[in-house]
Amino acid sequence: MTAFALTPDVSFGAYRVWQRNRDATLRNWKTEFLGIAIEPFAIILALGLALGQFVELDSGEKYVEFLAPGLLALFPMFAATFECAWGSYVRLEMQGTYESIIATPISVDDVITGEILWGTTRALVNGSYILLVSFILNPWLHMVDSPWAILAVPVGVLPGLLFSSISICFASIARAMSHFAYFFNLVINPLFWFGGAFFPFDAMPRWVQILGWFMPLKHVVDIYRGLITGNLEWSMLGSLAWLAVVTVFFYVLAVKLMRRRLIH
């Protein structure tokens, strides 16, 4: 009964799906590359420097320095979300890609796992590049204070998996492209603004702080902030564990929901 088993039935097939997405992306690498290459510069200039002129932080640090961990968390989140919400929905519903793949020895669970791994890869590429840009601009902007920052790359696997899984969950229940407006407005937008990327949480009312604890992005930003500033704290391990638990939950949910959508 492996096809319809209760626990995820994952094989090497997940990697085949990952390879398919890689090949499809590399076919259009020029357009993809241009967007990825320019984005962080634009963001750092617009948000960090332009907006930063009007922001004064209690801590005395420059706004662009405060912003660095947030950008490192936000833009990979967007990359994963874009890939596994819109992208997966197109493959699922408009192109019949999933249907064609599950007619081969690859299981639904393999497909979903491969998709999530690919979304995670996009997030990692995106995050590594932002980090690289931060290092390059460091002599002028001082965005990175500690070599620990490099750990943000491996740590980024976790939010990559998490946001990919959440997005797949949504793609599996969406019935039309227009439904993604809900996803964007109800999930991604609040995460974007209240994830602790743009303003310090400490200054917020207590209820916002409590709310923030439930926001995955806040934990990601906290970890990155610790790594980038070099102020390592035990609470970062707590955040890591929190993220791991939530990631497993959404991964299993994504597999179950997609099975319900594809197997009938």
Partner: protein, 307 residues
Amino acid sequence: MTSALIEARGLVKHYGDFVAVDDISFDIREGECFGVLGPNGAGKTTTIRMITATSPVTAGNLRVAGLDVAEEPRKVKAVLGVVPQDDNLDPDLLVRQNLEVYARYFGLSRDEVRQRIDEALELFQLDDRATSNVDDLSGGMQRRLTIARALVNNPQVLILDEPTTGLDPQARHLVWQQLRLLKSRGVTMLLTTHYMEEATHLCDRLVIMHRGKILVEGRPHDLIAEVAGPQVLELRLPSPERDALLAEFPQGDGFSVEQVEDLTYVFGGGPASAMAAERVGDPHRAHLRPGNMEDVFLLLTGRGLLD
């Protein structure tokens, strides 16, 4: 000991309360082309989806190449080549990439299948489109590419769900020709179609399904002889004239008459049919022709729209 590659016994499929496939049994033997005919909604695609381990079996026994479909879906899928009812080629990949990436889903490397892919592209006359976008291909080319894709894993059974629906006559004949070639090479096939001519041409044996059940099973020409008879008389006459003509037929001779709108069909009329046609002397009003699969299909499944 059985040489059946696909063996279904008491196969049932429910969607909620709806019974889509209702206790069907059949064998598909090595090297044969097995047809499944049936009106829209008969349960053909549902049956195929169960065979290809993409839809769970509600009840019954289903084995492919000796493997239980529910127990070993991955192994079952590894020995099948599937051409789905709706094309689902990968528009994000080029024509040749479609085949290479699909082969990889079976764990086959590019080197292993290079020659097979070259052959398939040539056989399906796509070799000069290898680096095209899938979306730029005509409908017929897309269909051929889908069939080529189903062959990359060298399947034991090729499963074709309406392979020629929506194709123009040229493209359809090209596909038939290629399927005949595959058949002559010993490829076992399961084929569904709404083209009776296609079924008669290609299938060694076929079943006609209706509302989830199998109505008949047999070889096309046997079915035509048994159900429709060798000759069918079509009459387009005002009823008094028609009745006068039919009164001439020897009574109790086992012929049957079916009235559809202004057209009367006489099945199994024997020499009397030929005489009647001659008497009217106008092929527009009385036409004697050989029985065909379409007669069988319509006699068994009725003429009303079923969906």
